[in-house]
């Protein structure tokens, strides 16, 4: 039972059951991934030009010295919330005519412990996972080491997760 609960607490990975329903969508040919590549490119440009990937901006945020990051995160949430409300309200489907689904998140202690651990790493590196990729793109090649270390951290979590409180 415990195992089952833990297996369900990762909201960014689809369960095997819902992944199979994906088979009907045309996301399996290489050119169908181009739309995600383009979205990623635009997103990366916004990250760099908005200085969201700046170590200095993150330090200002955690010292209450600048409104910038609070404005970015707050307005991003507001815009996303309005968009999601419209999608739900109007029953909008994907460009392929597939229904859009939302997975409810269950609370577990990992959100507290893991949240505090990630916040600590965020303050040290000045980056969350997305900005790491953008920082490397800007030519800060040493951030490859930070990324590899983050992958190692994810792997160690996977190794220890049955023993960790959730």
């Amino acid at each position: 039972m415990l195992k089952h609960n833990i297996a369900d607490n990762d909201f960014e990975v689809r369960s095997t059951a819902s992944a199979t329903t994906d088979a009907g969508t045309p996301d399996h040919k290489w050119f169908h991934f181009l739309k995600y590549l383009v979205t990623g490119v635009l997103f990366g440009i916004v990250f760099v030009k908005g200085e969201v990937v700046s170590w200095f901006r993150i330090q200002e945020m955690f010292r209450l010295q600048s409104f910038h990051m609070y404005g970015v995160i707050g307005s991003a949430i507001a815009v996303a919330m309005i968009a999601v409300w419209f999608i739900k309200k109007l029953g909008i489907k994907t460009i392929n005519g597939q229904s859009i689904s939302f997975t409810p998140k269950k609370f577990n202690k990992g959100q507290v412990y893991g949240g505090l651990i990630f916040g600590s790493g965020w303050a040290l590196t000045g980056a969350c996972p997305g900005p790491l990729f953008a920082q490397i793109g800007t030519g800060a090649t040493v951030i490859v080491v930070v990324l590899l270390s983050a992958i190692a951290g994810t792997w160690v979590y996977g190794l220890l997760r049955e023993k960790l409180p959730h």
């Binding site: 990366g44 170590w55 970015v72 994907t94 949240g115 040290l124 996972p129 997305g130 800007t138 030519g139």
Partner: protein
């Protein structure tokens, strides 16, 4: 126009554009915005080591890996064609504090004085980059998401556990940035 784009973008342009990523991914393929999961997919693809957490169909999440390759390409494009010629502007209180630790280079978004290949071999650099990176990877997966998956996707879809996670992200950051980072920077 291009000169305007080269300036640092204000929060009220940046934030809404980041927010629009959520409906964009939903409309393009019913995909939930979340970036830290890519670290898990890389583990599952490269070093699964028989660990149950890494036994899943990571190929069904290929879009996520393509998306972060796009983010890196976006970083290349922005720093090549839209580079801001001026140094990064920071609050004087922060630059005064950082000057005490020998951090005076504001030419890049990443502080070149402490994050470079040479300083990787110092205790200070290793704690910041290797230690910090490890905490990012371990913490995001333990929490089940990061700033994109919880703070933006989670809160905007009214998931209260995501609000809890986001408050903990901020709490951990406040504590470490103000109490632990000064100690590490003085090493």
């Amino acid at each position: 126009m291009i000169e305007l784009l080269k300036q640092p973008w204000p929060w009220y342009i940046t934030g809404p554009l980041i927010g629009l990523t959520v409906p964009a991914l939903l409309l393009l393929g019913n995909r939930s915005f979340g970036i830290s999961a890519t670290l898990r997919h890389i583990c599952a693809a490269c070093v699964p080591a028989g660990i149950p957490f890494f036994k899943y169909n990571w190929k069904a999440e290929t879009w996520n890996l393509v998306f972060v390759i796009g983010i890196a390409l976006g970083g290349i494009l922005a720093s090549t064609f839209l580079a801001n010629p001026a140094p990064v502007e920071v609050n004087p209180a922060l630059s005064n504090e950082l000057a005490r630790y020998g951090i005076t280079n504001y030419n890049n978004l990443v502080p070149g004085d402490i994050m470079n290949w040479q300083s990787l071999l110092t205790l200070r650099g290793a704690l910041l980059m290797i230690g910090g990176g490890f905490l990012v990877g371990f913490g995001t997966r333990y929490a089940g998401g990061c700033t994109s998956g919880h703070a933006i996707m989670g809160i905007s879809t009214l998931q209260w556990p995501s609000l809890v996670a986001t408050i903990c992200f901020m709490a951990g950051g406040f504590i470490v940035a103000n109490l632990v980072l000064p100690f590490i920077l003085s090493l």
